[in-house]
Symmetry: C2
Subunit: 296 residues, 2 copies
């Protein structure tokens, strides 16, 4: 197994994909730049009296069966699991909870489809999504990683109705947990479902924090890719825009330090050298390629 430092050393932030597509952004900010699915997926999930509910250490997962048809192809639902806070953002805003419904193709091709549903806390603190309440009913039994319990009866009809009636952002990304497989079809509901505070607090107390850091928008550099970071550093030396935005941030947000901590504010602005930085970036790319060679 690829020896990237993952859990528990670094938490989920550094879950980068080992494949060469590592620099492909994965879980993005669905906004107007992300295409919407042109047709709603046809979702069929049988209601159950109880399902297995597991604490995997990295997430809380419910084992369910169903079939989702996307673009004429059938995908089998295997489980849904939770992330807090959300891994996707809508117009830059994060949400307190996100559910991932993970499917694989019925034709044995290995294709994966993840239907993602965001949750927003209700202003009254109580209005919620009953499916989530039922799924987490026995959460007190699974406070320890590796433990398993059962859900209350699960009625999927309201969820299916929601997914049939809300726009779905549609893009190709990767799984956000190891092995971070690429070429995963994501369908992200742009309208969140309601969530009550008690359920949120209970889930958060068990999960703690399990969101991979949200990537840049599609087409932008992968935030977790070192080569991309080096390129951005190099580009920053040339692009006035970056310096300007940096300056603006520095000027307003750090007002106090600037006004009062002379030693910080007066630190000389270093002379940047784009050529040197480009050369370094190129070295980093070599190192990165070598690493990829080693890890196959």
């Amino acid at each position: 197994m690829f020896p990237l430092p993952i859990l528990p050393e670094n938490g989920p932030t550094f879950l980068i994909s080992p494949s060469p597509q590592a620099s492909v952004p994965s879980n993005n900010t669905p906004d107007d730049t992300v295409a919407l699915a042109t047709e709603a997926p046809a979702i069929d999930i049988t209601n159950v009296e109880a399902a297995e509910f597991e604490n995997l250490g990295s997430t809380l997962e419910t084992i369910v069966n169903g079939t989702t048809t996307v673009g004429g192809q059938a995908f089998n639902l295997a489980q849904f699991h939770l992330h807090t806070p959300s891994e996707h953002r809508i117009a830059d805003e994060y949400f307190p909870l996100e559910m991932h419904m993970v499917h694989e193709a019925g034709d044995g091709s290995g294709r994966i489809v993840v239907v993602a549903v965001l949750f927003q806390l209700s202003d009254d603190g109580a209005t919620t999504t009953d499916l989530l309440t039922a799924a987490t009913q026995n959460i007190a039994d699974v406070e320890e990683p590796g433990t398993v319990t059962e859900t209350a009866p699960l009625d999927f009809a309201p969820l299916i109705e929601h997914l049939a009636s809300t726009p779905l952002a549609n893009y190709t990304g990767s799984l956000t947990t190891p092995p971070c497989a690429e070429d995963v079809t994501f369908l992200v509901a742009r309208q969140p479902l309601p969530l009550d505070v008690a359920t949120y607090n209970k889930v958060k107390a068990v999960i703690k924090f399990n969101a991979r850091f949200t990537q840049n928008a599609l087409g932008d550099a992968n935030l977790l890719d070192q080569t991309a970071l080096a390129n951005l550093v190099a580009a920053g030396a040339e692009e006035e825009g970056v310096e300007q935005s940096l300056k603006a941030v520095s000027e307003d947000e750090s007002k106090v330090a600037a006004a009062t901590n002379e030693s910080v504010a007066a630190a000389p602005a270093p002379a940047t050298n784009a050529e040197q930085l480009y050369a370094l970036s190129s070295k980093l790319q070599e190192v990165d390629s070598a690493i990829h060679e080693i890890i196959g």
Copy 2:
């Protein structure tokens, strides 16, 4: 100014300090490994009828005056601002909101003290901290970065009482926003204050997401430092523990992919080569040193 890619390209995750102390962990997970302040700071803040409330793009800030005495030294309170989600975690758990009260030394030494207060949503959705409600009363006026409004009357007594009666985690870190000054004294209240959903949702809708990614525990490698990451990769090749934990995560969380996506599950486990990885890590360190030379 140091041309690291900061906002808006990468969001707050990559706010690393430009100083050589960049690898010093900054905003940590206060848990039992973080010392508690041995004496409560003496906090004196004058209640006001109204204060300036600004949207800085990167945060929402309230301009206030006060004096906090820490270890016999007086620090002047200049502002408090908000982060969502929290930048600190308690026993690994994040919180929906965090307030930073930023002080600088009255003696002109430039020393900075940040008193951090976490907020937890109340199960009833309504119980809250009145100071926060008052501070954000006119938030609808400052939806755009660069806009300013006024708060409702601010009564600091309950906050001061809370800080006098709850244990405070005490460590030296850095500012979490540019210029990310080092040697900042953090005092983090281990008990959160209550927060109502309506205020949380309003603040989140304006701020969107402005938490720097939480660092490792004190003494562990800085998550945002590339050399440290390379070292962790190298160490991972040798330390069975890392591989074991990785394997566990991979086995349970990616159950679906493993069970159903043969091409993913059957990807050969690459033979790792600790020596090669160490060599690469050492090259990365050279590159890092060179970068630091360039940027001064």
